[in-house]
Every structure is written in C-alpha cells, then in structure tokens.
Amino acid sequence: MKLVGFGNFVFALSVLLGCPVSVSAEPGAYVGDATCYACHADTKAPYAKTIHARVLTPEAGRSEKMKLGCEACHGPGRAHVEAGGGKGTGMLAFRADDPENIAVENANCLSCHSGGARTHWKGSAHDSGDLACTGCHVVMENRSLRGQLREENEIETCTGCHLMQRAKTKRDAHMPVREGRLQCSSCHNTHGSVSESLLTHTSVNENCYSCHAEKRGPFLWEHAPVNENCLNCHTAHGSTRQKMLRLEPPRLCQQCHVESLHPTEARQPSNKFVIGGACNSCHSAIHGSNHPSGFAFTR
C-alpha cells in the first residue's frame, strides 16, 4: 500500500513537472548513426563499450534527444553530410582548443547532466577558467573504469593541471590518495560547490568531519581555531611534517601561544617539549576535551 502511494506520488510529480531535455532542431536535420559510421568507422568499436553508447540509442533513450545517438551530442548532421564532411559545418566537435566554443559545448553536455553535483557549475572556478567538459572527460572511448575520464583515474586526470597536488601526495604525511583509496572527488566537487577550493561540503571542517567525526564536538572545552578551520594547523594534500601539520610542534603551537606557564623558548632538540609527541605529550586532547578538568586539553 505504501509503495502504491509512493508510485502515485512519483507519477503526480512527473505529470506536474513534465520531462526536461528537448530537441530543438527540425526532424529532417538528423541523419542517424549509420550515416555517421560510414565515414567515422574507426570510432565505432571503442565507442560501443561506453555508457553513452548504451544509453543514447532509439531503444534505450529516455528522451527524444537521447534516442538520436551520435547527434544527441554532436548536433544534427544533415548539413555536415551534405557538405561532404569537414569542419565548419555546424556540428559540435568538442575540441578543447577553441575557447569561444567551449561554453556552447559545455551547455550541450549540461542539457542532460545538469543539476545534482553540477548545480554550481556556472561561475565555478573551472567554468570561469574556460575548462571544457572534454578537458577532463572522454566520451568516445573508455579510458577509466568510471566517470569517462580522460586519464586512467581521477588523480591522473586532475593532476594533469594540478601538478603541485600530485607532488604533495608523495610527501611523508599524506592522505591515502597515491594508494588509490581516496580520490580527488572524496573532498572536491570539480563541477562547482559553495565552498572554497570546490569542497564537497559547506566548509573545510564539514569536509574533514565526514571522516574524522571524533573531532567535531561540540566539546565542553573547545579549542577555537580547531572549530573554525582544520587548515589552521594541518595541510590537506601532504606535508613533510608529521600528522600533516604545517610546522613541527612546539613551533606550530608557539605561533599562537607565548605563555608564561611554559617559558616559550626554542628548547634543546632533545628536550621532551620537542621530541616524540612534543606539546601533545601533555595536551593530548588538543582538538577539544569533554573532561570536566580538561580545560587545558590535558584530559
């Protein structure tokens, strides 16, 4: 009974909303896949293995546009065929080297792939930087297991431009990115977000807490800079310092603490305030404490 109710709800919603993704060109402008493959035969075999080849067919297509096959993405081919092929015949070629065409081509991709993770694409860093969808994705063949990526995986794809981030994954303290257990998209939404650095969550800390929830609190005794930004003390992509810290303690802590209780001096390198856990040897609950006597983060 509940399922029937749910089905009715979905049906009512769909009637109310109608179906998006329309076809604007004249029906006679389309030539069909067979005509395309007559000249572009070499693309057929690798393309046949892709998800697009499985979805953009008259049988499987869920909209008029999706039933058009090649022309769903490249546009109507009649003029191209009648001109004997070649450039400048009105078809979208998805070549990433023409900045003036990028917006048009991206809009074509977004006509099916809008919403969801791409809600904030418009005006995002990659959109503003004239990055084409085809700069990162390849539709005509499978180079990656998922996401139709240009390279074998996300890391190779993203670090094609973000070389420094690739270098940082090699550092002593790092996330399991180079081991392939975290992806760039574990933290970033490359298609746009409401946060700095295209983070998937609404702030740096929200991002970190999704896996490090033990540091979220709220605690009886809060360490205010922790609350505001994990990056006050840590780096995200890798560090030469332990625990992905920006600097070794005690100098890291001394950036904000020049105390009288601990005379703030450089200390001998063998001193207990420097080796091992350093400041954290006593202040081990540095992310916040819920102990009644833990105001100095020692309990």
């Binding site: 979905v10 769909s14 909303l17 179906c19 979805v55 080297d97 900045p99 919403g115 809600t119 904030h120 005006g123 503003s128 930087g129 094609g160 431009c161 070389l163 550092r171 002593d172 399991p176 392939g180 257990r181 409401v194 702030s203 807490y209 999704s210 929830a213 540091k215 609190g217 709220p218 605690f219 005794w221 205010a224 505001e228 030469t240 332990q242 070794e248 950036q255 020049v258 209780l261 005379p263 703030t264 001096e265 450089a266 200390r267 001998q268 390198p269 063998s270 207990k272 420097v274 080796i275 040897s281 006593c282 404490s289 819920n290 102990h291 009644p292 006597s293 833990g294 105001f295 020692t298």
Partner: protein, 765 residues
Amino acid sequence: MKRNRNCGLGRIAIASVSLFVLFNPPAFGDTDLGDLRISGELETGGRIVSGDFSSAPYEKYRELRPGMFGSGHFLLDKPDGRFYLRGEAIDVGERDELYRLELGRWGTGRLELDFGELRHPYSINARSPYSAGSDGVLTLPSGFASTIQGLGGNAAKSAGLAAALAGAPSTSLEFRQRSGGARLLFKPLLGIEFDTSYRLHDKTGTQPFSLGFGSPGGGFANFAAPKDERIHDVRSALRIVRDAWNLEFGYNGNFFRNDLDSITIDNPLLATDSATASSRGRMATAPDNASHAFSVSGSSSLDFLNLDFPTQLTGSISYGLRTQDQSFLPHTINSAVASALLNLPEDSLGGDVRTFVGNFQLTARPLPRLNLKLRHKIYDYDNHTDTLVLPGHSVNDGALVSSARSSTANEYRRNQTFLDASYRVNKVAKLMAGYEWEQWDRSSDREVRELDEHKLKLGLNLNPVRWAQLRMKYDVGVRRGSPYRPFHHLAHAVLETDTAAAQLQSQLVDLRKFDEADRIRNHFDVLAVLLPCEDVSVNLLGSYTRSNYDDSLYGLQDDERWDVGGDVVFRPHERVEIATNYSFESIRLQQKSRWRPRNFASPVVVIDDFVNDWLSRSRDRIHNAGLSVDVVLIPERLDARFGYEIQFANASTDTRGDSRFNAAPPPTSSGDGGSPFDYPDIENILQTFLSEVSYHVKENLTLKAQYRFERYDLTNFRFDDLDPYEGSSNIDGSGTIGSSLDVFLGNEIEDYNAHILALSVILEF
C-alpha cells in the same frame, strides 16, 4: 587468526583463477552468455619482496607483501544495453582490499555496494610497558610503580624508570579502517532523481597517545591507546531537473560512536593515591556526537524575467544541527582527592550547535563577451550550548584546585562576497577582474571580534595560438580587525574575578594569533599549457604567496611560499613515449617569541624582558622529479615501461636570539635560561624505480613481469632512536640535564628499501 584464514582463502582463490586463466583463456571482447554479454579484466599473480621493508611507512595504506595477489573488474549486461551488473575487486584477500558491486539500468538507476579496508600503521618499533585491558584501562606490570615510588629522589626514580623501561615489550601501533556502504540512485522519470546512501567507517586498533601526571612540565607517559570507533553516514537527496531550473532537497546525517568512554593508565611513578598526585590518570575520549544537515539548493536561468541576455541564479541553503550529550567523567580518578568543589553542575554538556549556510550566486552575460558574477556566502556557527561553571578542578588527576573554570560556547559567523567580471577581448585574450570581501564575526571569547579582508583580483587568459594557453592570476588582500584584546579569552576560561588564575594563563600582550591578526597577502599564479605538435605536450606552472602579518610583534610574522613545476610528454616515435616532470616548493615561516620565566609560588611574577626575545625561521624545500619511458618493443606483442621518481624534502628550523638570553634567574629557581637552539633538519627521500615488461600471448592474454624498487630514508630528530626512556629529554636551555621521569613510546619511523618482483597474468574478456 580469522584474518589469516581469510587471507589464505583469498589467495588460494587467486591461485586457482590464475591457473584456470593460463590454461583456459576465454575469448576476447564482449563474451556472449546467451541473453547477456560480459566484458572485463582479471589480473592475478605472485609477488616476492626482498630488502629491509619492516617499516610502517612501507605498509601505510597498502599491503605489498610476498604472496599471491589479484585484482579485476567486469561488466555484465544485456545486449540491448539496459540492465547491467558490474564489479571491481582490488587487492583481493589483502589488508588493503577493496570491492565494488553495482547493479542497475543505464540512465535509470543503480544500486552500489562497496567494502574496503585500509591499514594505518604508525610504527613497528613501539615499545610500552602497558598492557591493555578491557574498557580502555591500561596497566603496568605488578610492582612497576611501587618499586619506583619506593626509590628516594628524582635521580634514583629516573634510574629506576630507565631500568624498568629497558625491557619494555613491543606493542602494536596501528589501526585498521574498514568501510562499507550502499547507495541507491533511482530516476523514475527523466529529470527526477532519488539518491540515498549509507556508509559505515569502522576504526579499530591502537594509536599513540599520552597523559601527563604533573603540571606544568611534569612527568607524562606515552602509550598505545586503544581505538574502537564507528562513523555512520546517511545521505538522501531528491533532485528535480528541468531545462530552465533544477532543485535539490538533501539530508546528511553523520553519527560518531566511540566504544570507549575513557582511557585510564597507571602512573609509572606512583602506586598509591595522595592528595597531590594520583596512581592513575584518566582522560575522556572523543564523545559520541551527531550531526544533521538539511539543505535545499537549485538554480534557475530566470527565463521568466525575459532578459535579453543569459543569466543564472544559483542558491543553496543548509541548516545543520550538531549535538553531543555524553555523560561527564568525574573530575578525577584520584581516590584521595574529594571535595564538594568537584561536584559537577550537570551530568553532561547538552552540546547544541546550529549551523546555517547560505550561498547565492547570480551570473549574467549582458554582452556577448562580458561575464559577470555576484556571489554571497554566509556560514553561521551558532552555539546554543549552555555555559557551565565548574567551581574546582584537578589538574592531571593531581591536587584539588579551588579555582573555578567556565566553559565557552565558542561561535562565529563568516560572510563572503565576491564580484567577478571577465571580458573576452578577442579569441586570444580574456581579462578578469574581481573584488572579494570576507568578514569574520567571532564570539567574545576570541581576541578579535571582527575581522575584515578586502581582496582585489586580476587575471589574464591568453590563447595566442591554438596550441598554447597561458593563465595568470594576481590578487592582493588586506585584512584588518577590530582591536586585539590579549586577555579577552581568559575572561571566559577562568572567572573574571580570578586574577591569579588569569595571570597563570597569560599570553604575551603583544602576541597576535595569526588567524586573527592583521595581514597583507599577495598571491600570483601562472599556468601554461603548450601543445606545439601532436607528439609533444608541456605544462608549466608557478605560484607565489606572501602573507605578511604586519601588526604582529610576536607570533607568526611572515609566511612566504612559492612553487614552480612542469611536465613534458614527448613521443619521438609512434612506439615510444617519454614523460618527465619536476616541481619545487618552498615554504618559509618567520615567527618571534619571548622566553618568559616565572615562579610557581604565589604571588606569581612573570619576567617580561625584551632581551629574552628570539626569532625562528622555518623552511620546507621539497623537490619532486620523475621520468618514465613507455616503449612498444614488438607491436601487439611486447611492451615495456621504465620509470624513476624521487622526492627530496628538507625541513629546517633555525633560530636567532636578539641577544643571549638574560642570565638572570626567575624569581624562584624554575627557569630554563640559555640561548635559542636550531633544530636539526628533517629530511626525507623517497625513490621509486619501476620496470615492467608485458608480453601479449594473445589479443586478450598478457603476461606481465614487474620489478619495483622503493627506498625511503627519513631523518627526523623527533623520532630517530626514540626509546621508551630518554635520559636527556629533561634538558634545560643551559644544557643542564635533569632527571627524566617520562615514558616515551619508542615509536621510531623506520626507513625501508624493498625490491619487489611481481609476475602476473592479465586476461581481458
């Protein structure tokens, strides 16, 4: 034992599949299975490893041990392209295994299942006298503490501790994370999508932790703390997508559960409780907590306004609730400390934080070549947790302190406004300019209530020829705050009337905490992408950032970082590809401190003398370089790949005193007089050499031989040769070595070198 059995079964399965594949290779390509077709890849093989690879860094996040290994993926679907099942298995049977399974109908919906695990070793050399019992209680061997307690004087105790720790047994210092999840994504109609998922992270094992038993600077004990935590993450979303607009309603629940409420350890120096010190120490572990976030986001092309130019409004609001209500532990586990002052005002915190995020963005193209963007974001961290006043406390389970402490409901609001414009001059050039305003509005427990940063941004994209792109960005930001109130946080950490307590905690009044300090920041970015011909691609990049904390007499004063890098891919022949890369990053931090000796008797007197000022410059310099060559030796038969990568990182901290520290001792003999010390450089070198030969027996069957050499060398004075007893760790600034009464973990971080030879068979089907 169970773990080993699983590994064994997994590897036996891999071996069986290997033999089957070698002698019965199926046909290539999409293999017909009646109404279904299957395609995929399977790799199985064996690995031998030699060298000195008993090292935590070698095993971090992965398993590369001798034995069988296997990975593979498949896609099973109907020829009409509708329903499919696909799966992936990586490192089957190993402790970094990962499995994914997906069942669905293309374009309509899918069910995803996954499971994986990950190792997080810290050190394989940790040694600790503590034995872990149940419920987070760690105990010392019988007689350990009583023997040391019975020794007279710190020197004798220190010697006794050294003897007791000499035979400390090794202890595991590693936790494992297992993660599993399920996701259901369903599009009942084009433009409507339901997306719901659940994920569990399970972390069990140990991690390095420490507890202090005296204050300040008294003895502490490091130990391998048990870890038994779970994170449950639930997400759900309804998305509606139309040509002109889209809308998403979302929910994200994240729940942290810790099976350990506290960790208790024996005091290595004391076997009996007294009114001034405890035989045990107990700390609260991270409390259970929950987070809920409800969000609505969407965008519209504003067609109903009938504007003559394209526009889009994007908006997102999110309301979050974070709660934490775990029962408090008592102030102390010390049976000899009891007082009505230690009565708790509440049984638990009743933590209640509400967050609100609003983000609105309007983009428009009023002229064909002009793009405008206006965006505002607000993040409000609104803390509704009650402030608790605790009339007394016990520092480190020691003596009762009849000085009240008040908790703080820290909160803040962050506003950001962006105005950006870009103008495409022609096919070659695009100009960008922007302005950004950021404001922090913090609660009164922080030194600076309001902080405003104004930033001006300029950019230029150039495409001088079709094969070259150049992107440059420059921005300058000036941050200024309301008056800095050095003592203001104390008003909320101790009661305002408690001046003695305030003095105890005092910070240098001229210190500026960098996250609240005035700042001038300059930033420059450049990226060049060159594709001069089909066989050559070149990427070059660089950036420079300098943050000058121009009002900070003490604390972080200057943060300068820059990097350069590039890579080149060159195909001199259709069968040869050469790729090389290099990058360098420099990070330089300058900060100033002051040695402020004081006495530990009432009245407290702090010596604040500028001759005790000192400066440090910390610098990270990291080089990365790599070269790889891919060669097709015999077309469609024999391929080879060779590669070498190296990272060399050096981190230094050098110090300089304005003069030798004031030799005058503090009011009572508790000072550390002396000079500031340079720290030895921290260096690490990671080298990887790879050579790989693939012989294609058939179109779909490949034999691969891989030799990999990895070498990791770390020099880190903080951990090198660290023993459970460190006799010279209680050293003062004059070089005088006092009695060490601390317990370390001996958790060195080990170097490694490993020669890894792997032979595998790869089947495509």
